[in-house]
Structures are given as structure tokens and as C-alpha cells.
């Protein structure tokens, strides 16, 4: 089986002011090829002004069995949300 080709995750920034968005992945043997391939695959219809490619195995993600430890405690700290707080009537700009 052949080897050497890498998988890259592709991020596109559509317009300035907008965040980069993950659009999928592409293949490439080296960086130059990866970014050209990403451009040909994901921006043929003028969908972007800027492009990032990152080798897929450089991405760090949260494993499934740690997901609840990472994300659930966030849900019960409701004092992080503005709606938790009562503002007196008639007081503005808060």
C-alpha cells in the first residue's frame, strides 16, 4: 500500500471580520500541495478570502469518555450568564 499522503483539515474565512470555519478535509503530500488542493476543492465559487490547512493529526480534541468532565460542569454555572442578574427598574446601560 502506498504511503506518504497526509490528511489536512481545512478552515475558510469567507470575509474579513468573520471567523474561520471548518469546512472539511483534503489530501496533500506537502504543505504547498495541501493548501492548493484546499483552495481548488473548497473555494471554487469564491467562498473565501483566506484559507488555513492543518494536518489532521495536529488537531487535539476531547476524547469521548472525558466529554462530560469537560463540558457538563459549564452548564450549572448559570451565574456566567447575564440573565441570572436582576437589574432594578429604571437603571440603564447595565
Amino acid at each position: 500500500m502506498e504511503s506518504g499522503v497526509k490528511v489536512w483539515e481545512v478552515f475558510v474565512q469567507k470575509k474579513s471580520g468573520l471567523p474561520f470555519k471548518h469546512v472539511g478535509s483534503c489530501h496533500g503530500y506537502d504543505k504547498k500541495m495541501a493548501i492548493q488542493n484546499a483552495r481548488d476543492l473548497y473555494t471554487r465559487r469564491g467562498e473565501g478570502r483566506e484559507l488555513w490547512v492543518v494536518e489532521s493529526n495536529a488537531i487535539v480534541s476531547v476524547p469521548l469518555d472525558e466529554a462530560d468532565a469537560f463540558f457538563d460542569p459549564g452548564e450549572d454555572k448559570i451565574y456566567r450568564h447575564a440573565t441570572f442578574y436582576k437589574i432594578p427598574e429604571g437603571v440603564n446601560h447595565l
Binding site: M1, V5, G24, M33
Partner: protein, 309 residues
């Protein structure tokens, strides 16, 4: 039942998306890999029957439009291979499955494109059928597949218009052109209907796929939708659909039709269509004849990306 399986069932029940990191039943994963990789292979093999007329496109506009369409198909194949990779299979493995015939692709592409009118029929009928199927798949339960389908659907509508434009030009052109257009319709009508797969009653995989919301609507349901919207399009062209029993049922608003030739369908699916061998041979040749290019690219990448800069 463990919490991950419960979470999976809850996602499906709530019509939410399963993402690559989530737990999923092994059979769900395998079913998706099979369906998505076969969908990808179909896009890629589909480049061949259309590529057959690319060099002979009869105007600059026709050539550019057809090339852009074929290019889109390569792109759709790539989106789908990427989606399949999120499920744990590599492109190299999928390629091998295609070559050793473990994986299939849509049988419509095993039919030859004999005249320029076939470019019209393929765009109008084959892409038309694909659109009906793909619009439905935008609501599939696997997140990356659904997102891929949304992207593909946006791009696909020009494909059908490109085909219909050719049909219009020929149906209203010279007598020879009209005859060519009718001939193409005669050959592609039934194979296009077969793209929706066997009748619901004969469909082996259907129930599990529907329960897991991989598939959202049944084969017959989608097929009928395609027939109902396509018949008036053929009438506009002044062409005759090759089915003497095609009749509008006023009570349902749908067209009834003759029974299909399932013998031909299964024969082609099982490898005995007009071009099955040619399509595979072409794909293998392009791949193996160019192994030296990929080796060079790999060798070069290693040289530059491990060098001390």
C-alpha cells in the same frame, strides 16, 4: 444500556446529528461507510461517461460548462471521501474496495454515452434523479454527511440545468438533432429510474437505515417524486417518454407507469452492464500508471519537510 448508547438513541430520536466523536453502533458506522463510499465512487466513475464527450463539445460554452460540471463531480467525490474518512476508513482502502469490486457505485454509469444528446439526457435525468435523492439526504442523521449533502445540493442544480439546456437546443433544432435527443431519452429513461434502487418491498437494507435516520424517505417515494416532476419537462420538449403506460392519475396527481425491467437492473448491478469492465479498467489504469507520480510526491515531501531549514 450504557450511557453512550442511550445518548446515541436520544440523538436519533430528537432528529439531531451524530458527530464523528460520538459513540455509534458498529453497524451504523459500517452502513454509513458503505453508503458514503459508494456514493463517492459513483461521483468519480460518473466523470467517465461525461468525459467521453468533453473533447467533442460543439461550442466553447458547452465545453466550459461540461468541464465545470465534471470538475464538480470530482469535488463531490472528494467531499464524500472526506466524510467517509471521519468514520475510520482511509481513501486508499476505499480505492482498493472499488478496484476489487467489494464496493459498488451507481449502475447508471455502466451505460455508454453514444451521442452528444446523451450529455443532455445525463444532466437532465441522471443529475435530476441524484438531486431528488440528495435533497432528501440533507436531513441524514450523520452530521458530516448531512453537511456534505448541503454543499453538494447547492452545486448540483446547475448540473441539471446544463443537461436540460442541451435537450432544449436539440429538441427544437434540426430533425437530426431532435431524433438524437429522442434516442438519448429512450436509452436513459428507465436506467435513471433504477437509480432509486429496488422497490421498497424488495429493499434489504431499508428498515435499519430508516430507523437510524440515515435514509429519510423510501426508494419508491423518491422515485415517484422524480417521475412526477420530469414528465412535464419531457412534454415541454415534445419528446416521448419510452413508456406506453405512463398515465397521470388525477386522484393522486402522480403518474402510473409500466413495471420495470428488474432483470436488467440486477444484471448490471452484478457486473454485466455494457461498461462495467471499462469503467473499472479506466480507473485502475489512471491509478496504477501514475503510481510513480505519487511516489515522487511522497519522496519529495519527506526531503523538504524533514530538512533542517
Amino acid at each position: 444500556m450504557d450511557k453512550f448508547e442511550a445518548a446515541f438513541n436520544a440523538i436519533i430520536e430528537a432528529d439531531q446529528k451524530v458527530e464523528p466523536r460520538d459513540w455509534m453502533p458498529e453497524k451504523y458506522r459500517k452502513t454509513l461507510i458503505r453508503q458514503i463510499s459508494q456514493h463517492a465512487h459513483s461521483e468519480i466513475i460518473g466523470m467517465q461517461p461525461e468525459g467521453n464527450w468533453l473533447l467533442r463539445a460543439p461550442s466553447l460554452r458547452a465545453k466550459q460548462v461540461l468541464l465545470a460540471k465534471i470538475q464538480d463531480e470530482a469535488g463531490h467525490g472528494l467531499y464524500l471521501y472526506s466524510v467517509a474518512e471521519t468514520l475510520g476508513i482511509s481513501r486508499a482502502e476505499m480505492n482498493e474496495q472499488l478496484h476489487n469490486q467489494e464496493a459498488k457505485y451507481s449502475s447508471i454509469f455502466n451505460y455508454p454515452t453514444l451521442t452528444w444528446a446523451d450529455m443532455g439526457a445525463v444532466g437532465w435525468l441522471v443529475d435530476g434523479a441524484a438531486i431528488v435523492n440528495q435533497v432528501s439526504l440533507q436531513r441524514t442523521s450523520y452530521g458530516p454527511y448531512a453537511r456534505g449533502m448541503v454543499r453538494i445540493c447547492k452545486e448540483e442544480s446547475f448540473h441539471q440545468r446544463q443537461g436540460y439546456e442541451i435537450m432544449v437546443q436539440m429538441a427544437f433544432g434540426t430533425a437530426e438533432q431532435k431524433e438524437m435527443a429522442q434516442d438519448a431519452l429512450n436509452r436513459f429513461w428507465e436506467p435513471a429510474l433504477m437509480m432509486f434502487g429496488p422497490h421498497d418491498a424488495d429493499s434489504v437494507h431499508k428498515n435499519q437505515s430508516m430507523d437510524w435516520k440515515i435514509k429519510r424517505e423510501s426508494n419508491d417515494h423518491l422515485r415517484q417524486r422524480f417521475i412526477d416532476r420530469t414528465v412535464p419537462q419531457a412534454e415541454y420538449l415534445g419528446l416521448t417518454i419510452p413508456d406506453a403506460n405512463l398515465k397521470l392519475d388525477p386522484s393522486t396527481g402522480s403518474y402510473t407507469h409500466s413495471p420495470f425491467n428488474w432483470d436488467e437492473f440486477w444484471n448490471v448491478v452484478n457486473g454485466n452492464g455494457p461498461c462495467n469492465q471499462e469503467r473499472l479498467d479506466h480507473h485502475k489504469k489512471a491509478h496504477y500508471d501514475n503510481a510513480w507520480v505519487r511516489e515522487a510526491a511522497a519522496a519529495y515531501a519527506e526531503k523538504i519537510e524533514t530538512s533542517v531549514a
